[in-house]
């Protein structure tokens, strides 16, 4: 966030350069309200996940046949499901799974994709092979790829993260490779080469900093799509184990009853949509602020 706020600064008048970091950050948020709204909602969701035990929740896995399928009331804010579990507690704890999956996939696929992309961009003989493999992987629709992976492993959060990461890596690798190839032609990179800079130094000083902007935007979109894919996998029964409260699982359990008790699906659906929306807003805002040329078009 600090890097982005300094990026917004150069256009400012001299007087404003004296503004404190906090003031500049506030100004950045004012200028990019979607970053403020998206980031704020996301922090809120993260807090909900972290402090789930303190938010008047009960054991999200406690089964109580005597109070099955209650409608929302003062006692059970979001009602209860067909096993009598408290939907409110399950939804609140579900934030943990979604956020964990979203962030892990974004970070892992960024790191691995970045490595592959840098490698393809610099080791020219390997480029052809790597790009054919990436073309092949990208011709498998991501959700199907994740489904195929999940069919062969036991359902666990860790396996869901691995499956979605594998499905997302090709996109990052391709993006980074494109950035690397265009940066390699830049005069300052050529100058560095002419000065005798070695490849690691060129990558570290000239290439990596320039991949930061497109990568961070891409990472937010991957985070959003990972949360949706996790929910879909859990919804169709190929995701995290049924006992774990995840938004996809809660909806999967509410499926049989949705015509009479739509609230079991509604509450996790609203939470999931808001979280994904927050991540998308953050991504759009970052994209606009990091690349002002794109801001006008997209």
């Amino acid at each position: 966030m600090t890097a982005s706020s300094t990026l917004a600064a150069p256009a400012a008048e001299p007087a404003k350069a004296e503004l404190s970091r906090a003031a500049r950050f506030r100004r950045y948020l004012r200028r990019h309200p979607s970053v403020a709204i998206g980031g704020g909602l996301l922090i809120l969701m993260a807090l909900i996940g972290i402090f789930a035990p303190l938010l008047w929740t009960t054991d999200p896995t406690a089964i109580a046949p005597s109070r099955r399928t209650r409608v929302p009331s003062e006692l059970y804010w979001f009602g209860t499901d067909m096993l009598g579990r408290d939907v409110y507690s399950r939804v609140v704890y579900g934030a943990r799974v979604s956020l964990l999956v979203g962030f892990s996939v974004a970070v892992l696929s960024s790191i691995i994709g970045l490595t592959i992309g840098l490698f393809a961009g610099f080791v020219r003989w390997a480029d052809g092979i790597i790009m054919r493999i990436i073309d092949g992987m990208m011709s498998i629709p991501p959700i199907l790829l994740a489904i195929a992976l999940m069919a062969l492993t036991r359902g666990s959060i860790q396996n869901v993260i691995i499956a979605i990461t594998v499905a997302e890596i090709p996109r990052v690798a391709r993006l980074v490779r494109g950035v690397v190839l265009s940066l390699r032609e830049q005069p300052y990179v050529e100058a560095a080469v002419a000065n005798g800079a070695r490849v690691p130094r060129i990558i570290w000083r000239h290439i990596l900093p320039n991949t930061f902007a497109p990568m961070s935007v891409q990472a937010t979109y991957i985070c959003a799509s990972a949360m949706i894919v996790e929910a879909i996998l859990s919804f169709i029964g190929a995701g995290v184990p049924p006992a774990t409260p995840s938004w996809g699982n809660i909806m999967a359990e509410g499926r049989a009853l949705w015509q009479v008790r739509p609230h079991i699906i509604l509450f996790p659906a609203v939470f999931l949509s808001i979280t994904v929306l927050a991540v998308n807003l953050l991504g759009d805002g970052l994209r606009d602020s990091l690349d002002p040329r794109l801001a006008k078009t997209l």
Partner: protein, 313 residues
């Protein structure tokens, strides 16, 4: 042109070969014993061995891959572990509903999204533009099954305008077929509309700044013609490209939409196969969908010459 078509078709062969190799190899690189996982927790050791033999996991990898690819090329995708039916037969039985759903969604999405993107670009910055782009962000954020249940709840349960779920084959009449598919197609189309509308708007914004657009406006061409004849034609290539790439979204979304609306298509087949860990079926569906995806994008490449005569192959 012919040389290009041939070359383009030839380049899809290594891609498909890789997809096949990848999908096949998953069985071998998956952590743990896939035969035991597929058999499930209650299986006896004999069951596990039977599955291991039927998947060919007891024989060397390369031998198995050679055999398997040879059969796939001949159109034999193996046998389902659960039903013991040929995978090709299972797929053939389920193809009509999925194809209907996807074609209908495609038409619906393009008809809605392209004008939406054009108008948004034309009125850039206005409330129309903001509403359209706000809708696009929502389309990306609300998962497809959430949209499905919301639409089904209001339009089927509350208003009773359309059937809640199910599918009627096309052979039983156009109207019953369509009635069952309207809600699923709208559900599946939403994210696709968001994608196409965004790209349409972005490309149109660029085109609208061109000199020839100003010339057309200056010589008194009507706004409608400037937008849809002069500009949209020149913006067509990226739009057509994104329609092709977005097919992946449709395929992924179909799996979920079919579950929500109980449509007995390939998506349902995939979900059933997942629950029974019927890997040959999943493998077959993934291969088939990937082939469809690659072929559609090949076709799209070829249509570039139609939408833009400047492109010659």
């Amino acid at each position: 042109m012919l040389a290009f078509v041939v070359r383009r078709i030839v380049t899809t062969i290594p891609v498909m070969a890789f997809v096949a190799l990848f999908v096949f190899s998953l069985l071998y690189v998956a952590p743990g014993d896939p035969a035991a996982i597929i058999a499930g927790d209650q299986a006896s050791p004999a069951d596990v061995e039977r599955i291991r033999a039927s998947l060919g996991l007891d024989r060397p990898y390369l031998v198995r891959f050679a055999e398997w690819s040879f059969r796939v090329i001949q159109g034999d995708l193996g046998t389902s572990i659960f039903t013991n039916l040929p995978v090709t037969q299972l797929i053939a039985q389920r193809i009509e509903p999925t194809l209907s759903l996807m074609v209908l969604t495609l038409i619906f999405a393009v008809v809605v999204a392209v004008p939406m993107g054009v108008v948004a670009a034309w009125k850039a910055g206005s409330w129309v533009d903001k509403a359209a782009m706000g809708f696009a962000v929502l389309g990306f954020s609300v998962p497809v099954f959430v949209v499905g249940y919301l639409l089904a709840y209001f339009f089927a349960l509350k208003l009773d305008w359309l059937p809640v779920q199910g599918y009627t084959p096309f052979s039983q009449g156009f109207w019953p077929w369509l009635r069952n598919l309207i809600l699923p197609a709208v559900t599946l189309g939403l994210v696709y509309i968001a994608l196409i509308a965004r790209i349409t708007r972005a490309t149109m914004l660029e085109v609208l700044q061109q000199d020839y657009v100003r010339t057309a406006q200056a010589k008194g061409v009507t706004q409608k013609d400037v937008l849809f004849l002069h500009s949209l034609k020149n913006a067509a290539v990226p739009i057509v490209t994104i329609i092709g790439i977005g097919i992946a979204l449709l395929i992924g979304g179909a799996v979920v939409t079919e579950s929500v609306f109980a449509i007995p298509g390939l998506g349902r087949l995939t979900v059933d196969a997942i629950l029974r860990r019927d890997y040959p079926v999943i493998q077959g569906v993934v291969l088939m969908f990937s082939l469809v995806y690659v072929l559609v994008n090949l076709l799209i490449d070829l249509t570039y010459t139609l939408v833009d005569p400047r492109i010659r192959y």
